[in-house]
Symmetry: C2
Subunit: 523 residues, 2 copies
């Protein structure tokens, strides 16, 4: 210390303990100005207000897991606008109204953690992860420097290293990004930078021609978004045909690379998908890696969805070859059940993320700081400020351990097998698009009574495609079930059921099958 004079701020005798321990005033009639920090003696009221919000949230969680509660109370947008008071007022509203606002928001919100919400790749609410997010909010910090997020920066390092170990990378670097699309963008930027390091500075002038990248026809649309944003143009994202299970065909990839080269294009990256969005297919990673090695292309794996299988001895063979990739996207907010948003991207080569994205802002990344500035992460990303997405993942992993996560993944696949088995018992009602799903996506058509005896053909096909959205509408109105649907290739609309919530039990699958029949039988 520079001086021996004690700091006037740190004397404990000044603490207004009596304020902190008295009972709170009736908070309903108070305003934000009656809370901390506006009123310095308002610790009891602040505690009471936050405790009430916590209570509301906990009650929502309880009812989320209550199979007797509805998943949603559906209203059309125009109806909901009438029911809710959403306007920004000129004058402050009291805390009573703020608590009513909180209640109303939850009342009309969809319970994405409900055991019968099977609508998205991110279903479920993990309570420990939720606890992590509450604490993250209280800590309210930014992940760009060790200076203001020391604990969370170290957690990131430890957790990302653990994930790279699971992947099979010997070294490398990783970062958390706001969603899998941005993670995939980071991979594409690094791939371009690796092949054309002058590009960052010079742009087009550094290029020998039109760059192009390859991905499967069933890959996620974020690759196309990256092609547009990066300036390649979507024409330069070349889509590789897939087999009947939705997996990229490596021979087609080889052919398309040769084709692009013969047209003077410059291939630089191939993206294989591990768990496609709709069918849940895993591209054959070893075969794709072979093609990448042959043509010296960057090999990225988009395992935003399927990455979780790496945690299970029973399932991880589906990603054999991932250790040969240059980069991988893996979203813990999907199969691993971490709260939204938690996406990671990992690189086999250390140092690339920073050399690609570094802009050396003096005001944040001073080199003469009083600690080792290699711990600062902000210059590795295009984001600058970055939300703390690590604590909710780290805390959940601490509570489950690797073993718990293995059980977690195995449970999801067991439930999926059970669903497929049950559907196969009633082939008249449930037509599977793929009777051996590779991930927890179960794609099927519900067949209403009148179509069961109809001859297969274009007419029946068209009708089937029209029925599914109507059935979806009935589910939402009933509030008992949520399953997503979409068309794909030549297939008309079908349901894609996702099991990514730990809440799902056999009884929920039995319920789901009965409920489809109850709601859709007469369509």
């Amino acid at each position: 210390m520079a001086s021996s004079t004690p700091s006037p701020a740190l004397s404990p005798s000044h603490r207004p303990k009596e304020d902190s321990e008295r009972p709170p005033r009736d908070i309903g009639t108070l305003y934000y100005t009656d809370l901390l920090p506006f009123t310095v003696t308002a610790a009891p009221e602040t505690r009471e207000f936050l405790a009430r919000v916590a209570d509301l949230s906990i009650e929502f969680i309880r009812s989320t897991f209550d199979r007797n509660s509805k998943i949603l109370d559906f209203h059309q947008p125009e109806q909901l606008k009438e029911v809710l008071e959403l306007d920004i007022p000129a004058k402050p509203l009291n805390l009573d109204q703020i608590l009513v606002d909180c209640k109303d928001a939850l009342k009309y919100q969809v319970k994405t953690g409900h055991p019968r919400f099977m609508n998205q790749l991110s279903c479920g609410t993990e309570v420990v992860s939720l606890a992590g997010e509450w604490l993250t909010a209280a800590a309210n910090t930014n992940m760009f420097t060790y200076e203001i997020a020391p604990v969370f920066i170290l957690m990131e390092q430890v957790t990302m290293k653990h994930m790279r170990d699971v992947i099979g990378y010997k070294a490398g670097d990783s970062i958390l990004a706001p969603g899998g699309s941005v993670s995939n963008l980071y991979a594409a930027l690094a791939a371009r930078h690796k092949m054309f390091p002058d590009y960052k500075k010079k742009g087009l002038l550094a290029l020998p021609g039109e760059l192009c990248m390859f991905t499967s026809l069933h890959s996620h649309y974020s690759l196309m978004g990256a092609a547009a944003a990066m300036g390649l143009g979507t024409d330069n994202l070349i889509e590789v045909p897939v087999d009947e299970k939705g997996r990229m065909i490596p021979a087609e990839l080889d052919r398309l690379i040769q084709d692009a080269k013969s047209k003077g294009k410059v291939p630089f990256m191939v993206c294989a998908t591990a768990g496609t969005t709709v069918m849940g297919a895993f591209d054959p990673l070893h075969a794709v890696a072979d093609v990448c090695e042959k043509y010296k292309l960057w090999f990225h794996v988009d395992a935003a969805w399927g990455g979780g299988v790496l945690l299970s001895k029973n399932q991880r063979h589906k990603m054999d070859g991932v250790e040969r990739s240059n980069s991988i996207t893996w979203n813990p907010h999907k199969l691993m059940g971490v709260l939204l948003q938690c996406s990671t991207v990992h690189f086999q080569e250390d140092g690339l993320l920073i050399s690609c994205n570094q802009m050396c802002a003096d005001y944040l990344f001073q080199q003469d700081k009083p600690y080792d500035v290699n711990y600062d992460t902000g210059d590795k990303v295009i984001q600058c400020g970055r939300h703390n997405d690590i604590f909710k993942l780290w805390l959940l992993w601490r509570s489950k351990g690797d073993e718990g996560f293995e059980k977690h993944i195995d449970h999801l696949f067991e439930m999926t097998s059970y669903m497929v088995m049950r559907m196969k018992q009633h082939p008249d009602k449930y037509e599977l698009l793929n009777d051996e799903p590779e991930c927890t996506n179960v794609c099927f058509w519900y067949v209403p009574y009148r179509l069961r005896s109809m001859k297969p053909g274009p007419d029946r096909c068209k009708l089937l495609g029209e029925v599914q959205p109507i059935l979806k509408g009935r589910m939402m109105t009933a509030g008992t079930l949520m399953i997503g649907y979409q068309p794909l290739d030549h297939h008309p609309n079908f349901f894609r059921n996702i099991i990514s919530s730990q809440a799902v039990r056999r009884e929920d699958i039995d319920f789901m099958l009965e409920e489809l029949d109850r709601l859709g039988y007469d369509l």
Copy 2:
């Protein structure tokens, strides 16, 4: 409803009320599997566990606002690794350990809401916004469709419309993005798309030459990041000189545009900054708008930092002319005190965001949904999944009203004036870089005793620059104060004090000045 059979799931008589109301078991010895949804009768334990995490967080908030508590307990990274147990275990840890993990994380975390934390553009912890974030975590949804986020999508619409009204846009569209850098990227992508609509598909082939954009020398480094990511190359981000207050010089902008054109480059966008990162300068928006009109260029305003001044009658004149812009970035997580992360970008022209970023993913944005799919937002962004960043903003605005936010902004500027006034009373100790700050950035050198009598010149200048980082190190060790520092142009390291926390009072500023002197006098 399709059928008159009641759903078996919705009968209230099945609810296990007795479980919900019994006292919880001792949760310390339990594991995650003893909580919901793993144990279906575990509502009491789940409630107890979450309540304890809420209590820990609330206690952290209380101590954050306690001026007798330290801002941080600084440890070097290697020390902190020894103190904390960060490893991912093979086997599950019990809830007692999970709660210890939470305590430890908060113990070593920097209190960014402390009244004497003046280190970043985002300081302070707004309790109502924190409440919003807790509820957001419980709701755990994704903002891409109305289907699964109906309430929050409508809140976004209402709040974004309100912000566009404040800006002075007659119509338009807006989106929330993960930070100002991504918001600026959205603006640049839209600007490019507007001028070259074929570019999205064709890439380079659609361009008449090398695109370039313009921003001030003091603008945020995210513009350079955007130039690299988008494929322009950082050489094609042309930096416009600034005046002594850090404001872009419009005549220089005009000259540099002509210069770029004469070299065959294709200017497409100018970014003016409203509140530069270091000095807090506001570029002259009308004059920049005139230049943009003259050359038919997209006019973007990066008001990530300064945007909040629009809420104050006393301050908004600094952004006169903003209504002439094509787009504006404005981060409520900065001057407005919303929890991290909350950034918005607004467009004067409606429809551009979607035509620029739309990739039409069938699995999410089906056109035959049972509601008006214009409410779905996911196809407007490059993110796909998007965290719910609206509730914490909307709820805070409801609690403050426009009037409360005006007071909020005015308070920050009053505190800034007070700080500058107090520093001017001691010119020997505090040398201001700019004695009339335009925003709440106060840039200054602390002058230790031995330098006070030294002649101005390169030697003193060099010493001053060396002293500030050492003083920063002492602040962190003492834990009593946090202020950022950096060099800028030819200026050696100086402090940039930010007032963006509602907790700051005159006594904190008095304390800060004394503490600098206490810690730095002998340097």
